[in-house]
Amino acid sequence: MTVVADMQCGSVAARTTPPILGVEELGVRYGALEALAGVSWQVEPGQILGIIGPNGAGKSTCYDAVTNLVVRSGRVVLDGEDVTKVPAHALASRGLRRAFQQNAFFDHLTVLENMVAVLQDDWGTSFPGCIFRPLAERRRAADARAAAAAQLARMRVEPRFHDRYPTEIPYGTQRMLSIALAHGGGAKVLMLDEPAAGLGGEDMRALVELLGALRDDGLSIVVIEHHMDLIMSVADRIVVLDQGRMLAEGTPAEIQANDAVLDAYLGRSE
């Protein structure tokens, strides 16, 4: 069953703004298994879209499909440009970036080096540059570290952790680092996969705050999340997936009142 979103909830402005990221009829098959079918949604500039659903509903598969990491059908449009055929590695420079469900770092680099590594497009020096212009490279590297430190600070990763290895820092900070690495030097759309998994209390509040701040800076965010507190408080719209299909779509209030969603989460009454 698909519950059609009540369009009156969207403001007039929101309706006329073209979406920054739109997916149409995404489908993924693994052999005989249809892991994802007929999934369509869009995010408008400066909005947060939540994707929820029970375990195994196809949420992470949906991300892999959007970012071209799996063979899929359907269409992906980023900022008015059809990027369906663009390889995964070329999406970042077009402004589409994502995090992964598990904390994804470069384990053997320090936190700061992790950040420097994803800022190479803006702050790196070419190989010949490093050989022949060592002093210029040295200055650039110092600038890169400063930029990385600033970016980490913005993402709530405190300076005292910058010289540690990612596995040594507190879990809440690891989640922030994941977001910082995914965001890199900047993005139009950032896709996060369960950023709040395993978080609580203080860490959760910091995360809500961060997501809000990023949105206020004009970033569009897609969030897969299980933690309803978080999703209900930050998302502008929510898509519910169940068994690889769209179950519902709407504002947080609509989703909370939706019987089909309650069933999917708490089990169906028979």
């Binding site: 375990n55 596995t167 369960e194 933690h227 309803m228 708490l266 089990g267 009454s269």
Partner: protein, 243 residues
């Protein structure tokens, strides 16, 4: 309460520098079904995996696991299995390159008089569907059949305590109920079950007691009746605004 088949004490699990699980005490009586619920990342799978000393990652586990009063925490996973502690993991739970019959071929060696060793025939009478599929490969089975085969495979090894991790994932509602009620039936024969489940409604229908995990800790524990109407259970899944 009946005799304790499984006792877990001071079980902690760390990944890198981070503690992801800290369970002070949890016990399972003979013939009892205890449900474990909680949000994603709350540590449900970590709890059951650590009980077996098993993982697909590299955690550091400490704590005590007692099976029928015997401390098994120093034993490697296969030895715990031989003692009658069985886990059906989430996700991949059967051997896909082997037939149903082969998946059920490995039985317990000398389980002793106090453990019931199910024969392949016993499993087939429990799940007639599996008998029809006997010659098929595990990879050809549907989600429900895999779940049945996973349970059957565990029963062949004469479990004292069976830990089930999210058996309802990807199953149709009717199948969920079939699988869980079969599990309930098994407990009449004295089997004890720890059931990790996300489908709270389905789980609450078959468990005796239920615990709620949040951030690696037990935050709530009670009988099925007490938990059914507890708002915190719904909260854990749907958020505080949901009354």
């Amino acid at each position: 309460m009946s005799a304790r088949v499984l006792e877990i004490a001071d079980l902690t699990v760390r990944y890198g520098g981070n503690r992801v699980l800290a369970v002070d005490g949890l016990s399972l009586g003979a013939g009892e079904v205890v449900g474990v619920v909680g949000a994603n990342g709350a540590g449900k799978s970590t709890l059951v995996n650590a009980t077996l000393g098993w993982s697909r990652g590299k955690p550091v586990v400490s704590g005590r696991v007692l099976l029928d009063g015997k401390d098994v925490s120093a034993l490697p996973t296969p030895r715990r299995v031989a003692e009658g502690l069985l886990l059906i993991p989430e996700g991949k739970l059967i051997f896909g390159t082997m037939t149903v019959e082969e998946n059920l071929a490995e039985g317990a060696t000398d389980p002793g008089p106090d453990r019931r060793a199910y024969s392949a025939e016993d499993v087939y009478s429990l799940f007639p569907r599996l008998k029809e599929r006997g010659g098929h490969l595990g990879s050809q089975l549907s989600g429900g059949e895999r779940q049945m085969l996973g349970i059957g495979r565990a029963l062949r090894l004469a479990p004292k305590a069976l830990l089930l991790d999210e058996p309802s994932i990807g199953l149709a509602p009717k199948l969920v109920s079939t699988v869980l009620h079969t599990v309930r039936e098994l407990c009449r024969d004295g089997l004890s079950v720890l059931l990790v489940e996300q489908n709270v409604k389905a789980a609450i229908a078959v468990v005796d007691r239920m615990i709620l995990l949040e951030r690696g800790r037990i935050v709530l524990e009670g009988t099925a009746g007490e938990m059914r109407d507890n708002p915190r259970i719904a909260e854990a899944y749907l958020g505080t605004q949901q009354a």
